[in-house]
């Protein structure tokens, strides 16, 4: 029996960023988190390089205000390889988008993913913002997601830089889509220890609801 008071939603989320920053890992680990499980190294070791558009999903029940939602997070995970890299071992981001762009009807949340222990992966988000901007709509929400939070001593970015990066991202999207009214935030997580993953799940869920309300 399904509870008629629960509002059911499916949101579309696309994580973008350089290869090996944790786009697929976050999507897969969130599925475990949504079932109340803790992530473990074994799951992470089983994750391979994305060579095409991969589909991962997680379903979570969340309460916002006095309403209960059952939200399915449909992740569309593209490769982190740039067209100009010329990597022949799989499709590049651009090739994948060229194939699937007709089927991507809307993106509720775009997750700009970078590795906190790799400064270059953060600065390269400039490239990914350009690459994904045409897929955004006026209500798409953005999340600047730093992974590998567990690498305490090897973190190469400061809070100040992350905040500046987020402001830069907002400006870039606003310049491209003057009508954009989506929200954005930054969050740092660890796929290994599970730190902040529940918060991430809740943030994405809330963003999907918010994005849908804006589109009404």
């Amino acid at each position: 029996m399904t509870n008629p008071n629960i509002i059911r939603l499916t949101g579309f989320i696309m994580p973008v960023g350089n290869g090996a920053v944790g786009k697929t890992s976050v999507s897969r680990i969130l599925e475990y988190t949504s079932r109340g499980k803790k992530p473990n190294e074994e799951i992470l070791l089983g994750i391979q390089k994305t060579k095409n558009l991969e589909f991962e999903y997680a379903t979570t029940n969340q309460v916002f205000g006095n309403r209960e939602f059952s939200i399915t997070l449909q992740f569309l995970v593209p490769p982190g390889q740039k067209e100009e890299d010329g990597d022949p071992s799989g499709r590049s981001f651009q090739q994948v988008i060229e194939i699937f762009k007709e089927t991507i009807r809307r993106l509720d949340v775009v997750i700009f993913t970078y590795d906190l222990s790799n400064r270059q992966s953060f600065q390269d988000l400039e490239y990914w913002a350009d690459a994904v901007k045409e897929l955004l709509n006026d209500a798409s929400h953005m999340l600047l997601l730093g992974t590998h939070l567990d690498r305490n001593e090897r973190i190469e970015l400061t809070e100040e830089e992350i905040t500046a990066g987020l402001a830069h991202l907002q400006k870039k999207v606003s310049d491209f889509r003057p009508g954009w009214k989506g929200k954005s935030a930054h969050l740092e997580v660890s796929n290994l220890t599970g730190e902040n993953l529940e918060l991430l799940l809740r943030y994405i869920s809330g963003s999907i609801i918010s994005s849908r309300r804006m589109m009404r």
Partner: protein
């Protein structure tokens, strides 16, 4: 006839031919980098010297191929071109040594050069740059001390030692810290933020 003198000049000419082959090998390496021109000029000097040696050897044997050319005039010209040859070779060696061991500019000049290259006011660079940074070499595990002037001095062509990375509203400076380790030079790429604070390092590479 001065047979012994002629023999010594011929041996000298053979040694010179050896030098010519070495020059050709250098040109073959450098032409890929568009740096072969000075060595082509040096090779033409060697050709000229060979001609002079041959002419003198023949004169010692009593053969005069060019009647209007006296030994005194030929020696004068050889002395002149020898001097030009030595100066050119010294300058090329100096440039090579600078590339390997760095140029001898002062800290202030090096900071000016850095500031100009990264488009940052010199005052700001002087205020932000620390006198000493340190990073551990991943090959020998020793602490490598460096400063921005050191990096600039070690790379007379500054773009080989300093790279500006811009993106997401922040600017980073990648410095290639040169360090003698084991049996050769290594370069450790280190990343500095917009305040010139050390942020990260990448695996080192042999130069």
């Amino acid at each position: 006839m001065l047979i012994l003198n002629a023999l010594i000049v011929v041996v000298s000419a053979i040694i010179l031919v050896g030098g010519l082959f070495v020059s050709f090998r250098i040109i073959r390496i450098l032409r890929n980098y568009n740096l072969g021109r000075p060595w082509i000029i040096l090779s033409s000097f060697i050709f000229f010297f060979l001609f002079g040696y041959g002419y003198i050897a023949l004169r010692f044997l009593g053969i005069n191929l060019i009647s209007g050319l006296s030994i005194e005039n030929l020696m004068t010209v050889i002395f002149l071109f020898s001097a030009i040859f030595v100066v050119t070779l010294s300058v090329l060696n100096l440039n090579l040594m600078r590339n390997v061991f760095g140029s001898g500019i002062s800290d202030a000049e090096a900071l000016n050069k850095f500031a100009q290259y990264v488009h940052m006011p010199v005052r700001k660079v002087r205020a932000l740059a620390k006198r000493d940074y340190a990073v551990n070499c991943d090959a020998c595990n020793m602490a490598v001390h460096y400063s921005i002037p050191n990096v600039v001095r070690a790379h007379p062509q500054i773009e080989r030692g300093v790279v500006v990375d811009k993106g997401m509203g922040i600017t980073s400076y990648r410095l290639y810290v040169r360090h003698f380790c084991g049996n050769g030079f290594r370069e450790i790429p280190v990343s500095h933020d917009h305040k010139l604070e050390y942020r990260a390092k990448r695996p080192s590479r042999l130069v």
